[in-house]
């Protein structure tokens, strides 16, 4: 197993100060490990990877890894990534975002990137809170939960990120958790290998802000919560609705084929030259 850590050290930037910035026990570090293992498994070389992030706890991820890395403005990572992919389709573009980053301020870009089927892999760490800014509620904060901006409890309905991605037409949608790290490796690998707009929603936790305010315990307890409330897609098919009530499904939710934007644009180039 030591190969796992040796491998991770191969991809970390050695001139960057470790340990990294995230709170003790934060799931983002686990997701980063999984992301690196999946990239290694896919066999990409470092020069062709562009890791793009927005603003928030996940925003600080690219600086730690030895790829072409881009830390963009809040919510806009997918637009920068679209520009990169279309200007140089040979690059493998991976976007990491938080839940607020992806579906609050970035919601418009998220649904359009999915609709266009731009060949970008999108990794979204969903911990139902704005952690970096101190624990405000986000579009995925469940109804009734307490945060620093919903002190009397949140009275808004929340998004289901994966269903949002499916509805917007994403060709590959998966969900995993930081607890199920081994399974996450596999899902990440499939997400990166998929041609077209692929999304993996990673259920994480923010024990520092959200967990404390809602008395959900430490990182360990919140990961146990993930274990108890996650159900694989296969197992869910044999469960009745009331059993699934407070559960969420993990695994591959959608895997379909649609024309990929930059390949379709090649047709336009051909037609344009013919029309000249």
């Amino acid at each position: 197993m030591a190969e796992v850590t040796k491998l991770i050290h191969k991809y970390l930037r050695h001139d960057k100060k470790f340990p990294h910035v995230w709170c003790p026990g934060c799931g983002i570090g686990i997701m980063l490990g999984s992301l690196i293992r999946a990239i290694d498994e896919c066999g990409y070389n470092k020069d062709e990877i562009v890791l793009v992030s927005g603003i928030g706890c996940t925003g600080r991820m690219p600086v730690y890894v030895d790829f072409n890395t881009l830390h963009t403005t809040h919510g806009r990572a997918l637009t920068f990534a679209t520009g990169i992919k279309l200007a140089n389709p040979a690059l493998k573009v991976i976007v990491v975002m938080g839940d607020g980053d992806a579906v609050a301020i970035g919601g418009n870009h998220f649904i359009h990137a999915a609709r266009r089927n731009v060949d970008i892999s999108t990794v979204i760490l969903n911990n139902s809170v704005y952690g970096m800014t101190g624990g405000q509620y986000s579009p995925t904060t469940p109804y009734g939960m307490k945060t620093t901006t919903s002190p009397y409890s949140n009275v808004e309905q929340s998004f289901n990120i994966s269903e949002l991605a499916v509805a917007a037409g994403a060709v590959f949608v998966a969900r995993g958790t930081v607890y199920h790290a081994k399974m996450l490796d596999g899902l990440m690998e499939m997400t990166f290998k998929k041609k077209g707009f692929s999304v993996i929603e990673v259920i994480g936790h923010c024990h520092t802000q959200y967990g404390k305010l809602n008395r959900m315990g430490s990182a360990v307890e919140m990961m146990k919560w993930q274990k108890e409330h996650a159900v694989t897609v296969e197992k869910a098919t044999q469960m009745k609705d009331d059993e699934l009530k407070d559960k969420f499904r993990i695994g591959v939710l959608v895997d379909k084929e649609l024309p990929v934007f930059h390949e379709e644009y090649e047709k336009i180039r051909r037609w344009a030259k013919e029309a000249k």
Partner: protein
């Protein structure tokens, strides 16, 4: 999972400078190998019990723990070891 031959305990490295004492490795080690010292940092309490499943290594948010599997032939490719042990 009987194992007659006395296996050598795998070597577990903990990078103290990177470890933030979050307790995840200790909590999720299926074989109860690790324990927390007074500072909350993990230490190897029961080296012989280690089945080198790598759970701790995979879930360490700070890449601060590794398990060197001495005898390479045994290769644990299981996802949910605790279910296999009926916990």
């Amino acid at each position: 999972m009987s194992d007659s031959k006395k296996k050598k305990a795998p070597n577990i490295d903990i990078f103290r400078a990177w470890c933030k004492a979050c307790g995840i490795c200790v909590a999720f080690c299926p074989a109860g190998v690790l324990a927390r010292d007074e500072g909350g940092y993990p230490y190897v309490k029961e080296p012989d019990k280690c089945i080198s499943c790598g759970w701790c290594e995979m879930r360490c948010p700070d890449f601060a723990i590794t398990v060197y599997n001495k005898d390479k032939k045994r290769n644990f490719e299981n996802d949910y070891p605790e279910e296999r042990q009926g916990k």
